[in-house]
Amino acid sequence: MRHLIALAAASLPVMSASAAQAADNQRFIACPIYRDADAGAKSGCWLVTDPATGQQWDVSQSPYKPDWNYAVLVEGTAADTAERPCGAPVLDPVRTSRLETQCLRHMLPAEGYPGRPFVRPARNISPLSNPPAPPPGPYSERAFTLFFELDRSFVVYQYGDYLLDQAAHWIRATNPRRLVVTGYAASEPETVSGQVIAERPEMAQQRAEVVALSLSRLFPDMEIETHAVTGAQVNDHPDADGIPGQSQRRVEITALF
């Protein structure tokens, strides 16, 4: 594995209409509350209140759910639904990133709210015993992207792993000459709910290395090099689900032939 720590200048912002609709995008920091709505396994509710507006939101649809002991950065858009299975309007798509700020652990009873029965997310990997069909050609240079929580390099179950697995299936089918893995960190400070947040710049390299390690285990003989980019900008990759902050915190895997 070759590591190129090229701290390139920020990549060009690629803003599409969807990502640019900032007005719809909620972004705030709050302590999460767990509502014990019981519609079976993995059915609990997560509620947060925007400290600026006092508006409570249901953020249970985040691929990485909160820990009731820690504050979260909430990013998402109001869902186009009047249903409130957890008792608050729904943010969906939504992300909650665990921060280090401690919170008072609080749980509400169900209070008649049904919660949501767990539905396996569309982004789930298939077992080795049942691999998906190889992607149809023709094959040429192509990039794959996976996304991260704020300031973390953990590849999240049924989100990041799925995106990595998609890349792996394509790479296996096309057998490129080498892989270039570029980690991005949203290292430019921003103020959210009165707090300054920024990703540690080293997160860019850390993300690249985590993904490169996984790729090297998938393709032990493949040449893989890593790059790091700080000051990551927003893009409109569909797997960031239109959440600008999510699109910044990413790794791109480029297959070269």
Partner: protein
């Protein structure tokens, strides 16, 4: 174990010889231990003996009969490296992996060996069959961890320097708070001297194809692709050993030979091959449950034959539900029911309900690293026993099963005054649930990975053959199956009804 007199009366060395399969499969179930009585120590397979290990081997236990099957024909123990002493302490693999005990070693058996051999059985070897080699070896008190809890001493190097083939520097320090046996302090022992001692149960050496099976290419708990086997290049299941220190069977047996066996020479390639082949051929499970109930009767598929004949590694939630072997007993036809005693009928129904409780009764799982962090399920997350014990037929974890259930770590662990206690201080990021300072009896997986986030994680065992191998959990802290359920009640505040609790216990007794 302060004196030998508190040991329970010897178990009858009754072995059920070749219970006819037809008898067990019938709708009538099994109506008594009809087998011949062997010599008193027939149950015990000693190292270096000359015996024939048959394809079907049955031994009674308090809840019925455990059956062990081997594929590939009977095995002659004489000269076989699994059965021959490895080194000067006279132990073989068989010493600690006994067929009557589901290829583990029940504490009851250990006590019986002490009594029968006056403490001279090789299992009591000073190196790890005593609390610490520095203690006077003739006294039962020096072997109390083994005699009372069924625990062998496991010595790990500290600090570790390598993990998964890469150099590591641990992000935590270890101090010894309490050292009741002397193996974590003094001039030779303890983390200060590069060695840390913990005490653990032998894990069942059977049904291994399930523990080696790989369901998915990724370890969701680590957020990484699975590492590859250094020998074969295949993905590693990550499901061996409490702390996953040995990643494949070769490394495991080399570890066992040089520690438990105090073997000076390395195992020969031929020995490695013979031991591996034998290990992979052994399947064990309870075959007969309470009230003489054949566990494969009336359409149920309990017992080891199903384990032997099934595909390994399936995730119950997307395939055959975990422990649905007994689902047919939910609806026993009236004419079948009429042929059973009321106790037999009710017990079958209870086992079937127990499997439902295991899968369907949900509770809030909290502060259990590996589940509540960093995977993204949230803390808490509502789920059931099957969330972690998710492999079809086995109940181990399809993904590498390193989870902190709290069994070894405060505040969740039961008080264990005769265990060494360590203070872990995280030097990098604090632990996501415990914070910076952690008190633990066994850091578990962290002794292998070097990460404070892994303190207290213990690889899930399989749940088969439980009736034959009490006590439970890696540190033996649950004396019996009741104790297991009680621990989960304390840990997660589940609120089982008396009926659900009994159903769950009956289910576990039938595995």
């Amino acid at each position: 174990m302060k004196s030998g007199s508190s040991l329970p009366a010897p178990r009858k060395g009754k072995r059920v010889l070749l219970l006819a399969a037809g008898l067990l499969c019938g709708a009538l179930g099994f109506s008594g231990l009809a087998g011949a009585e062997g010599p008193a120590d027939d149950r015990w397979w000693g190292p270096g003996e000359d015996r024939t290990w048959p394809e079907v081997l049955d031994y009674p236990n308090a809840n019925g009969i455990l059956r062990t099957l081997i594929t590939g024909g009977p095995v002659q123990t004489k000269g076989h490296p699994f059965f021959e002493p490895m080194g000067p302490n006279g132990r073989a693999c068989i010493s600690c992996h006994q067929p009557a005990d589901a290829m583990s070693l029940a504490v009851e058996t250990i006590q019986e060996r002490w009594r029968v051999t006056n403490g001279t059985d090789p299992i009591f070897a000073a190196y790890d069959g005593s609390n610490c080699p520095v203690l006077p070896q003739g006294e039962a008190a020096s072997h109390s961890m083994l005699l009372e809890h069924g625990l062998f001493r496991i010595e790990r190097p500290w600090p570790i320097t390598e993990y998964e083939g890469r150099a590591v520097t641990p992000d935590f320090t270890i101090e010894v708070v309490r050292d009741p046996h002397g193996c974590n302090s003094g001039v030779q022992y303890g983390p200060e001297n590069g060695r840390i001692s913990v005490y653990r149960r032998p894990r069942p050496l059977a049904n291994l194809k399930y523990l080696l099976a790989v369901g998915f290419a990724y370890d969701p708990k680590q957020g990484l692709t699975l590492p590859r086997d250094p020998d074969t290049g295949e993905y590693l299941s990550g499901n061996l050993m409490s702390d996953n220190r040995a990643v494949n069977l070769r490394l495991q047996m080399e570890d066992a030979a040089s520690t438990h066996g105090e073997m000076i020479d390395r195992l020969s390639p031929a020995a490695i091959q013979a031991i591996t082949a034998f290990n992979l051929s052994v399947f064990t499970a309870q075959q007969v449950g309470a009230h003489g109930t054949a566990l494969d009767s009336l359409g149920a598929t309990g017992g080891p034959a199903t384990l032997r004949d099934s595909e390994a590694g399936a995730l119950g939630s997307i395939g055959v539900p975990v422990f649905s072997e007994f689902a047919v007993w939910e609806t026993i036809a009236p004419e079948e029911a009429a042929r059973l005693s009321p106790e037999q009928l009710e017990w079958r129904r209870s086992v079937a309900r127990g499997a439902r409780v295991f899968r369907d009764k949900t509770f809030l799982i909290t502060d259990s690293a590996g589940i509540n962090s960093p995977m993204g399920f949230g803390n808490p997350v509502r789920n059931s026993c099957v969330f972690c014990h998710n492999m079809t037929r086995m109940g181990n974890d399809v993904a590498p099963g390193q989870v902190d259930l709290g069994t070894t770590t405060l505040p969740f662990a039961d008080p264990l005054p005769d265990f060494p206690l360590f203070r872990i201080t995280c030097t990098g990021d604090p632990h996501p649930h415990y914070g910076r300072v952690i008190l633990t009896y066994d850091p578990g997986f962290a002794l292998t990975s070097g990460r404070c986030a892994d303190v207290g994680k213990i690889t899930l065992q399989s749940l088969r053959g439980l009736s034959a191998r009490a006590p439970y959990f890696a540190n033996g802290s649950a004396k019996d199956l009741e104790g297991v359920v009680d621990y989960y009640e304390r840990r997660y505040n589940i609120g089982y009804t008396a009926q659900e609790r009994q159903d769950l216990i009956n289910l576990m007794s039938a595995l």
